[in-house]
């Protein structure tokens, strides 16, 4: 016994291990409870973030070049497809404007300052992705100086992709919705069926094998079918209303056969991020 403890190497190793465990638990609790990491960590992140441009910017521009070539090849096909859409788009736009102005007017009459669906967008670029199997996290190039705050929702090209989990001055970390750790905030969503009836629920799981989100514990008589659309419902105070999440891919009941469980297929762009939009719910 005495020999073991007199061995300084062992003692230092154990000490280092305990210190590391302490650091881990502190940073996990900071991540769960505080709106920002401590100053020294933010400062370090800013410096590393700026240094990372040396690699990330050339790498991203190479990626752009590859995409440009790809775009050139696809242009003809796309053009034909888009032509068909263009005709309907003007009509939709005009209608959209009319509805928007009517909505504003009604709100003014009802003295509502801002609705559930209003938000301020902050456009950011993805810098790097965390090289880790379980984190599903990436770093964007806008931070608190651009107005990014913790827990804001992040949109990709086609819909909701995640939330901000750490804010530094000039960059921040975004966690994809596929990461559903218990301690994180859950997204409140609604599924709307063809009759216009809605069911509210919470994204509380992710099926890694199929890449589908799970909305569980639904207790309702309203029938939701495959291909019904799912979007955020604006409840809970953080996420704005009406952000597209995906389509219902499967409707089942949970293990006990009492509550409904929905599997949601997200748009394909979840893994192919370049430019993202951080949305700030105005309230």
């Amino acid at each position: 016994m005495r020999k073991f403890f007199s061995n300084r190497k062992w003692l230092t190793a154990i000490l280092i291990f305990i210190i590391c465990l302490g650091f881990i638990s502190v940073s996990v609790s900071t991540r769960n409870n505080k709106s920002m990491p401590p100053f020294i960590q933010r400062f370090g992140n800013d410096v590393v973030g700026i240094a990372s441009w040396t690699v990330a910017v050339p790498a991203n521009s190479v990626r752009h070049a590859g995409e440009t070539v790809n775009n050139l090849i696809n242009t003809y096909k796309e053009n034909q497809k888009l032509k068909a859409q263009v005709e309907t788009i003007t009509a939709t736009k005009v209608r959209d404007q009319a509805i928007q102005s009517e909505n504003d007017q009604l709100k003014r009459e009802l003295k509502i300052k801002s609705g559930l669906a209003d938000y301020n967008p902050i456009v950011a670029e993805a810098l790097v992705r965390t090289p880790s199997a379980w984190n599903d996290q990436f770093v964007i190039n806008k931070g608190s100086s651009a107005g990014v705050k913790k827990n804001m929702s992040v949109l990709g090209a086609k819909g909701l992709i995640g939330r901000v989990i750490e804010v530094n001055n000039s960059n921040s970390k975004v966690e994809l919705i596929s990461n559903t750790v218990d301690s994180d905030n859950k997204f409140p969503v609604e599924a709307t069926n063809s009759k216009g009836e809605t069911v509210n629920g919470i994204i509380n799981g992710y099926d890694r094998k199929t890449g589908q989100l799970i909305v569980g514990h639904l207790n309702t008589k309203i029938k939701i079918k495959v291909n019904d659309k799912v979007s955020t419902n604006g409840l809970g105070g953080i996420t704005p209303k009406g952000i597209y999440v995906g389509k219902v891919a499967k409707v089942t009941t949970d293990d006990y056969g009492t509550a409904t469980k929905l599997y949601i297929q997200t748009p394909a762009s979840m893994n192919d991020l370049e430019v993202v939009t951080v949305v700030d719910k105005t309230s």
Partner: protein, 172 residues
């Protein structure tokens, strides 16, 4: 005492570049690397391992640089301090033990590297799981992440072995 040693600068600059390359490659090829099977590039560790493996004449403290790289990794990528800062040096220390124990050639190098990559992934996952920072199931992690990652990084190792060996030899 400390004279001009170009290998030192090359090693440190290369370490930073490989640290950022990991993130950039993960972002750009994320649809390939993070699909059904998860292939995590570990160029940072590969660089540290090559440093431990090839740089013998100068007394470079690779373990210390492994801890620094691990700290930056924690700070910038995961946001959870204390995981890679301890895992990287442990892997390098074990790698050095294996290096002294085994004859030096590409097969034993590959074996030692693959073992270290598996060790890093399992240890880091274990620490995250312990602190409830992930809810990925252990069986899924093993089958869909560890094994593909080890294979993927072994291929990287084989590709980089000769060029980096030559580079370090030339500079030394």
């Amino acid at each position: 005492m400390r004279e001009h040693q170009p290998i030192r600068y090359v090693f440190i600059i290369g370490l930073f570049i490989s640290l950022f390359l990991d993130g950039s490659i993960s972002l750009i090829f994320s649809h390939l690397l993070y699909g059904k099977y998860i292939l995590v590039p570990s160029i940072t560790f590969a660089w540290l391992f090559f440093g431990m493996y090839f740089i013998n004449r100068t007394n470079e403290h690779v373990e210390v640089w492994a801890a620094i790289a691990g700290l930056l990794f924690d700070l910038f990528y995961t946001g959870i301090l204390g995981v890679y800062v301890i895992v990287f040096p442990i892997a390098i220390i074990i790698g050095r033990k294996l290096y002294r124990f085994l004859p030096m050639n590409i097969v034993t190098g590959l074996f030692s590297f693959a073992f270290n990559i598996a060790l890093i992934n399992v240890l880091a996952y274990g620490l995250n799981r312990l602190m409830n920072a992930t809810n990925m199931a252990a069986g899924y992690f093993l089958m869909h992440a560890v094994i593909p990652t080890v294979l993927f990084n072994s291929v990287l190792f084989l590709i980089l072995y000769v060029p980096i060996g030559v580079l370090f030899d030339r500079i030394e």
